[in-house]
Symmetry: C2
Subunit: 398 residues, 2 copies
Amino acid sequence: MPNISKKGAAMPESPIRKLVPYAEVAKAKGVKVHHLNIGQPDIETPKVAMDAIRNFDEKVVVYSHSAGILSYRKKLVEYYKSVDIDVTPDEMIVGTGASEAILFSLQSCMDEGDEIIIPEPFYANYNGFAVNAGVKVVPITSKIDSGFALPPIEDFEKAITPKTKAILLCNPNNPTGYLYSKEELEIVRDMVLKHDLFLISDEVYREFTYDNHEHFSVMNLEGLDQHVILIDSVSKRYSACGFRIGVLISKNKEVMSTAMKFAQARLSPPTFGQIASEAAIDTPQEYFTTVLAEYKSRRDVVVDRINKMEGAFCPNPKGAFYVVAKLPIDNADKFCQWLLEDYSYNNETVMLAPATGFYATKGLGMDEVRISYVLNVNDLHAAMDVLENAIKVYPGKK
Amino acid sequence: MPNISKKGAAMPESPIRKLVPYAEVAKAKGVKVHHLNIGQPDIETPKVAMDAIRNFDEKVVVYSHSAGILSYRKKLVEYYKSVDIDVTPDEMIVGTGASEAILFSLQSCMDEGDEIIIPEPFYANYNGFAVNAGVKVVPITSKIDSGFALPPIEDFEKAITPKTKAILLCNPNNPTGYLYSKEELEIVRDMVLKHDLFLISDEVYREFTYDNHEHFSVMNLEGLDQHVILIDSVSKRYSACGFRIGVLISKNKEVMSTAMKFAQARLSPPTFGQIASEAAIDTPQEYFTTVLAEYKSRRDVVVDRINKMEGAFCPNPKGAFYVVAKLPIDNADKFCQWLLEDYSYNNETVMLAPATGFYATKGLGMDEVRISYVLNVNDLHAAMDVLENAIKVYPGKK
């Protein structure tokens, strides 16, 4: 029997999925599991997008342009204009989710052994894309005490080597919810220029900002046109994860023509998802107003409840729909498994994501968990009830 | 400005797309272009699949399972049973087109520098997937005189090195239409076992066989369970290229768990495409009967017409919807460009794919073109009229 590849062996398993069998155990026992472990919103996909699919009347569902349907890219120009980002259809390649857009950007800019600096904790699947592209992730640690603000620039400078090719930011951040300020991004800009790096910015949570904070895009950093690659997705914006539609944006023509070769090899992004995404751009503003108010209430519940728990601490992030909270526990992996396997409160339990999976530095995040506030306020309160009582009796309590 | 990657620079451009600007030139002059250059069928997508999309009534379009929606995989078990292939839902990972399934299989089985043997001419995008996975393509030439039958086994044996990890077949073949027989595949089987290789088989044209020839799948080769990876797609079967739904199938558990890690990193395949593909499995048999009769008529027109042209030769392939024909020309790339840029007949011209792009060996295919018979018989006759007259006056006539 032939061997699998070394690369395949090196591919990480999703840190969240490891817990899935334990959730099955809980459910088999009749315990209700509150899923705060994944970024799958419960919000309805906008009607205007669903109607576009229901009214689709082409006779043949053909390949689209490899860069995405032109009318969709033109419509995206309007959307980006509305959020103060100036791009043309030629500066976009529609991807099968942000996932593919990230992979295209790594493959187009980086070779085997090149290094990419990412503030940790970071979205765990970046590890998979990095292994896939043969790229080494160099983490810079952000700290819970500062709410996971941008680490000091000296930490970046120390990590830069001749192999460093790019910096990857996620803003607003998954998993921390931290919203990088214009000032922080300008510091990054200067460093990127100084060392001639690419700056890849994953801004899929752009719309999700709270307390009157506004998102500032790296696309509006002056002098960085040839360095910036913007990654985006409709998944969170329109609660449309299953569309599998994202986009890679850059004003660097060489990056675009290179990414285009990867795009052409896989022919085209999904047609139905593009049709729905194009229509989604006409989603009325009230949809977002309602959704944002809902997420803000949820964040408030989670932050407030956790900060009232003894020995626990939760920053109050300004964006996305995640928090990373510190709990009085010995080992987040064990704790999250224990919640599913051994614990219930009022016949309910909660599934969380151990923060260890979001750190590249071994040993970090041992007493932290990521909570996705993707459930309604009532369910969130029930989940917080579970958590509050769980940390009192958890055998590995600190 | 930072440099793009060496891998990106090495990515091949699609040999067909190079001609697209010339087709635009022809169209701008008011010349009608018959597109025989691509594998985009004009056949209608089955109504049962389109209805499933129009009736989709979930409120939230969520991520599916990374291996694909379970009900779809269960339904695929029935489909495969109907074509005499025995698989379980656990032996399948639904991919974003066959494209992603091929990439997953290369990444899971092969490392940087490993070699994959592919009979040429072959589907040009295999080159892109190979560069992407860091894999070296070793071509074995099949000949037009034998209708592009399996090359002698000695040719394979000579090409095998310690780096050889897999053999990739496309059956029925794109671009040649050749249908490998059970006997040919058994020869490959013995070689695969002898050298302990993977056998990756792209069978997306399974249903398209003519003249009472039947397709034999590598899944039914005895003793090869741990070696075979089947690649499939709904694109051609249901004329549903835009669904972007394919599948990777293997009974090798290590291959599956490895491919699953790549699948999890990109979250999930497109939801709408899966819904439509699941419904498509109930496409009535008459659909295929009609489609196959149509394609057979088309093939007959193309083969018959070309073989009547002076100095031209076209094998009569038993599968897919392509032929590779030999023409009395000096250079297929120049000829195909000339057809678009400088030639018209009755104000019409034809876009063909130069066969050079399907050979990995430089210099081969110079007098060959691939013709996709994806147009109706009337248009095909018109296109053949163009071709017949074109080769008489082409300046690089041989």
